[in-house]
Structure formats: structure tokens, C-alpha cells
């Protein structure tokens, strides 16, 4: 067991709801971004999926809105130790967006307006595990939280849920994204506490 910190009692989380190791529950929605919040107008917003052969398919905002949407209720876990429980989102499943994309790639680099990148295995984006989310708690997603649209991959640490999403590049080999090159784990499973490289 670790050393005991004299005089520290702590505040216990609700026992009925488990959070990953090293996390605490917050009602806040902290903001962690490496740079300024980009101003992304829906009228010039575009999402592009590019395969390993260079073929691309793009959606405008109107086209994204025309796709079937899903409501998602999920806990989210930030590597800086906060977890937020029972958040609700609305967006388009990656299963929908990638349905007609022909690929044998195993990895994806998510790219954001503003230059942020993060890498995720393709299989972690499929089978109801990931969305392009544009509403949070019933309201349009605020720019500071990634609006107009962000990737939502809630089973991984939240830095994988790239804000201001603009592209998904399919890759045969794993490349590392922004935080993954800056000391953080390549995969980032909160339940295994894969925080750091």
C-alpha cells in the first residue's frame, strides 16, 4: 500500500457508481485545449474521411445534419483525473459515416480545425463506440467544448474525443497524434489507467 497522508480524509465518491482508477467525479465540465479555441463556422465546416489509398469522402454541415442521429448517454473520463457521469450527447455514429468507406486500414488519425490530432484504432470507432457529436445536454455543442462538432469516443480518455473535428485519415500503420507525441499513452484506456507513454 502507498504511504498514508496524515490528516487526509478525502471525500468518497458515490459507491454505487464506479469510476476508473485515479479518477474523481466532477459536476463541472473542465476545458483542456492546447491552444486557442478556433472559430469554426458551420457554413464552412466540412468533415472528410480519407482512406489509406487517398480516396476521400466529405460531408458539409447540412449533409451531416441529414444523416440519422443517435442520442448517447455516457460517462467521460479525462486524463487529468476528472470524470463526468451521465453526460448526454447527440450525433452521428461513425458506423454510419464509415459504412460505405472501403478500407483495410487498422488505424485512424482524427484531425481538428486548429491542427490538433489524435490516433485511434479503427475498431475502436466502430460497433456503436464512437460518434461525431454536435449536441451536449440538448444544446448545440459550445466552441470551447469542441463545437460545432467533435469526435466522441467515451471508452477512451477524453483527449481521444477530438474537438473541432474536420477529418479522419485511415492509416495502415499507427502514427501518433498530438498528445501521444507529448508524453501520453498511444491507446488510453481509462480502466487500465493508460495515461502516460
Amino acid at each position: 500500500m502507498a504511504v498514508v497522508t496524515r490528516g487526509f480524509g478525502g471525500r468518497r465518491p458515490e459507491p454505487e457508481h464506479e469510476v476508473p482508477p485515479g479518477q474523481f467525479v466532477t459536476d463541472d465540465f473542465p476545458v483542456l485545449s492546447a491552444g486557442p479555441t478556433p472559430d469554426v463556422d458551420e457554413s464552412r465546416w466540412e468533415l472528410t474521411v480519407r482512406t489509406e489509398t487517398g480516396e476521400g469522402v466529405s460531408w458539409t454541415w447540412e449533409q451531416l445534419m441529414a444523416l440519422p442521429a443517435e442520442d448517447v448517454a455516457t460517462d467521460i473520463h479525462c486524463v487529468t483525473h476528472w470524470s463526468k457521469l451521465g453526460t448526454t450527447w447527440r450525433g452521428v455514429s461513425l458506423d454510419t459515416l464509415l459504412a460505405d468507406v472501403e478500407t483495410s486500414a487498422e488505424f485512424v488519425m482524427a484531425r481538428s480545425y486548429g491542427g490538433y490530432t489524435t490516433n485511434v484504432p479503427l475498431q475502436d470507432l466502430l460497433d456503436g463506440q464512437a460518434w461525431v457529436a454536435y449536441e451536449f445536454e440538448g444544446e448545440p455543442l459550445e466552441p470551447v467544448h469542441g463545437g460545432p462538432a467533435r469526435l466522441l469516443v467515451p471508452h477512451l480518455y477524453f483527449w481521444k474525443s477530438a474537438k473541432w473535428l474536420r477529418g479522419l485519415d485511415l492509416m495502415d500503420d499507427e502514427d501518433l497524434g498530438f498528445w501521444e507525441q507529448n508524453g501520453y499513452h498511444a491507446y488510453g484506456d481509462p480502466w487500465l489507467e493508460q495515461r502516460y507513454a
Binding site: R6, F8, W179
Partner: protein
């Protein structure tokens, strides 16, 4: 990356809510200025709580220098600010984060913009700069509510060749201050030698609302977004 057992060796109140803590952490290898650490506290029954804190110094000699500002209703910061005392043990892991970092070999101009306790990583940068020949010109803009909320103002205001400091008071100014309380403006962020065309490296740290406002002013002035590094705390 492993946890190091750390012992509190120094504690010094800085403001009504902030306190400097120095830990002795055998095995801690030191940090780049701007990096942070995880702290883990363990209650007698084994319950643990972990939080991230910016480092106020680069932690050579296996020392970890923190400045902790108490978060109202927080779980860990009230303990660290009010209760922890020399001899108490906790654990530290790090250094962490490879982006919000100033490399002391860089000689280009550096613009640091702090809101409240967001000045903490900049203390590490200023202290590191003093150790390396003071070549890079620094400008530090600190926004605080009142003079009593200013962290390490004495150190920050001590003349340091090549460092230009500007204070902004948002609720209450020192007696005789030239301007009434106000929020940070574009004028605070403009200075010869620290513009977008000077290759300025910009760092902004503070509460989310402050960082959003300041980063917006900076990109509005033409600083390229990829030259504006930010660290936010608190919700929005």
C-alpha cells in the same frame, strides 16, 4: 512512469487561498519549466485521490515546488492549503506534459499571460530563465482580482534584466494605481518586440474564461494559433 514518495519540507502562505508547498521527492528527476505533476494522497483506510498541479520550479535536487490555490469545495486543495505540514507524506508522479513548456535554450521572445494562479507555471519559467543567462526576452502579464490575490508579486516585481511585467487588477487596484479595476485588453498584450512578427512564443494559463478571452485577443492581434499555447483550469 512510477510514483515517488514525497515528504513536505516547506509550506508558506502566499495569499488568502494560495500556499507554496515544497516536497522532497527522492527519485524525481526534475522538469522542464511549464510541466506539471500528479499528486496522490492516501487516507488511512486506503482511499486515494489524485490531482494534477503545475510546478512552480523545475525541481532540480529532487525537490517538487508547488503553489496550490484552494478550490472552494475541493477535495485535495483544501487539505494541501490548510492542513498539510512538514513531515507529511504523499506521492508524486511526473514530470508530465511536453507541450506547455519553455525550453531554456530558446532565445526568442516569450509572452506569458496569467490569470490568477495561472502564474504558477510561469514562475517556473522565470526561475529557469534566471539560471540560464537571461537571454530570452520575457514579458509577463498577470491578471488578478485584487492586490491581495497576487501570487509571488514580490518575486515577480523584482527587477530582472530582460523581463517586463504588467499587472492587471480586475476588482480592486493598489492605492494610487493609474487605472481603475478592469479586465485585460489588447493594449496589455502589445509591446515592442513581443508581436506576432517577432517570432514570439505565447503561453496563456488561467481559468477557462480568462484563457478564452486572452487567447481570443492574442489571435486577434495576429499571433498564429499554433504559437499560442494554453492551459486552462475549471469548467465552462
Amino acid at each position: 512512469m512510477s510514483w515517488h514518495v514525497a515528504t513536505v519540507v516547506g509550506a508558506r502562505p502566499l495569499t488568502r487561498t494560495a500556499r507554496a508547498l515544497t516536497l522532497s521527492a527522492p527519485g524525481f528527476v526534475g522538469a522542464l519549466p511549464g510541466q506539471h505533476v500528479d499528486l496522490r494522497l492516501t487516507a488511512p483506510d486506503g482511499y486515494q485521490a489524485t490531482r494534477a498541479y503545475s510546478l512552480a520550479d523545475t525541481g532540480q535536487d529532487e525537490r517538487v515546488d508547488l503553489v496550490v490555490d484552494e478550490v472552494p469545495d475541493g477535495e485535495v486543495s483544501p487539505y494541501l492549503v490548510r492542513d498539510a505540514r512538514p513531515g507529511d507524506q504523499l506521492e508524486v508522479r511526473g514530470p508530465l506534459g511536453g507541450y506547455f513548456v519553455w525550453h531554456d535554450a530558446d532565445t526568442g521572445p516569450v509572452l506569458l499571460v496569467a490569470g490568477g494562479s495561472g502564474v504558477v507555471p510561469f514562475l517556473a519559467m522565470l526561475r529557469a530563465r534566471r539560471g540560464t543567462g537571461r537571454r530570452a526576452p520575457f514579458r509577463l502579464v498577470c491578471s488578478v482580482r485584487t492586490p491581495a490575490d497576487a501570487i509571488e508579486r514580490g518575486e515577480v516585481d523584482t527587477p530582472d534584466r530582460g523581463v517586463d511585467v504588467r499587472w492587471v487588477f480586475t476588482r480592486e487596484t493598489p492605492p494610487g494605481w493609474a487605472t481603475p479595476p478592469r479586465r485585460i485588453t489588447t493594449d496589455d498584450l502589445v509591446a515592442p518586440g513581443f508581436g506576432p512578427d517577432d517570432g514570439t512564443a505565447v503561453f496563456v494559463c488561467g481559468p477557462t474564461g480568462f484563457v478564452e478571452a486572452a487567447a481570443g485577443l492574442l489571435t486577434g492581434l495576429g499571433h498564429p494559433p499554433d504559437r499560442v499555447r494554453t492551459e486552462r483550469f475549471g469548467g465552462a
